[in-house]
Symmetry: C2
C-alpha cells in the first residue's frame, strides 16, 4: 500500500522551516538548501512544493499574515471588550518572550523587505492597511475617536523594532502600549 | 607628476554607491560588483578601500549614523527651541520626499538587518540608545516629562516603516508627530 502523504502538512512544515531560517539569517539568508536542512527534507522535496525561492518567500509572508490573523481572531473572541482586543492587536508585533521572537523577527524582516521588493511590499501594505482598519473598528466599537488608529499602529510597529533590536525591554514596550490605551479610555 | 588621489573623497563615493544599492535592493543585494557599478569604479578599486563586503556594509552603517547626527546637529543649532529640535529628531526617519526616501530606506534596512546580524545589531542598538537619550535631554530642556522619550521614538520608527511601505502618507505621519509634540507642550 502506498504511503499516504499529507501535502498540506508538508507544505506547512516547509513554511515553518523557512521562518526559522529567516529569523536566524534574514530573508537574504534563504536558500533551498538552508530551508531543506531546517525542515529535514531533501532540496528536491522542497522544490516540489515551491518552484522558486521567491515563491517560497512570498508564500511564507502570506501564511504568516494568515497565522497572525487567526491568533488575533482567537484572542479577540475570548476577550469581550474592544479595549482588550485593541491591546492584543497592538501588542502582537512586540515579542513578549524569546519563543515569540521568532514570529516577530520574521514579520519584521518581511516588513523591511517590502520596502525594496514590490511583491512583498504589496502584501505588507495590505497587512498594514488591514491592521489600521481593525484598530479603527475597535476604537469605534469602544466609542473612542478612531483617528487614533495610525498613531497606535505606528507606535506598536516602532516599539516592536526597538524590542527586536534589544534596545528596549519587552516589558517596557508592552507597558507603554497599556498606558496609551489607558489614556485613550480615560480621555 | 603623480595624480593626487583624495582617498577620503573616494571612500565617501563608494559608501554613497553602497547606499544607492541598499535603497534599491536591500542589504542582501549588496555585492562588490553592484557597488562598483553604481560608483563607476572597478571592483578592485572598491576592494582596495574595503577588504570584505561585511566591512563595507558595516562602514556604511556607521557613516549613515554620523551623517544623520551631523544633519540633526546642524538643524538643531539653527532651531532655538528644544521642542523644535525634538520635532526634527522625530521627523528625521520619516521620508518627506522621494529624494529623502533613499536615506530613510537605507537606515530602515540597517535597523532590520540588526535583528539578525550581531555586528549591525550593536551599531543599531547604540544609535537607538543615543536617539532615546537625545529625546530625553530635549524633553528635560523643554521642562517636560522625559519619560515620554521611548514612546516618541517608538512612534517615529513605526511611522517611518509605514511611510516607507507606502501604507501611510508622509504628510499624515509628519502631522501625527507634530500633534504628539503639541499635546506634550500643552500638557
Amino acid at each position: 500500500m502506498p504511503k499516504i502523504v499529507d501535502h498540506d502538512q508538508r507544505r506547512t512544515e516547509i513554511v515553518h522551516a523557512l521562518w526559522e531560517v529567516i529569523s536566524e539569517r534574514g530573508i537574504e539568508g534563504v536558500t533551498f538548501q538552508a530551508v531543506a536542512r531546517s525542515a529535514g527534507f531533501s532540496v528536491g522535496r522542497v522544490q516540489h512544493y515551491f518552484a522558486s525561492k521567491d515563491a517560497l518567500v512570498r508564500a511564507g509572508c502570506r501564511e504568516l499574515i494568515d497565522a497572525s490573523a487567526a491568533v488575533h481572531a482567537e484572542r479577540t473572541s475570548r476577550s469581550q471588550s474592544p479595549w482588550e482586543a485593541l491591546a492584543q492587536l497592538l501588542m502582537q508585533p512586540i515579542p513578549r518572550s524569546e519563543e515569540l521572537r521568532l514570529g516577530a523577527a520574521v514579520w519584521y524582516a518581511y516588513m523591511a523587505r517590502g520596502v525594496v521588493d514590490p511583491a512583498i511590499g504589496e502584501i505588507a501594505r495590505e497587512a498594514t492597511h488591514r491592521g489600521l482598519e481593525e484598530a479603527s473598528a475597535l476604537l469605534r466599537r469602544a466609542g473612542a475617536d478612531e483617528s487614533a488608529a495610525p498613531r497606535l499602529m505606528g507606535l506598536s510597529a516602532g516599539l516592536a523594532q526597538q524590542v527586536l533590536l534589544r534596545a528596549v525591554q519587552a516589558e517596557e514596550a508592552l507597558g507603554l502600549v497599556r498606558e496609551e490605551i489607558a489614556a485613550l479610555r480615560e480621555g
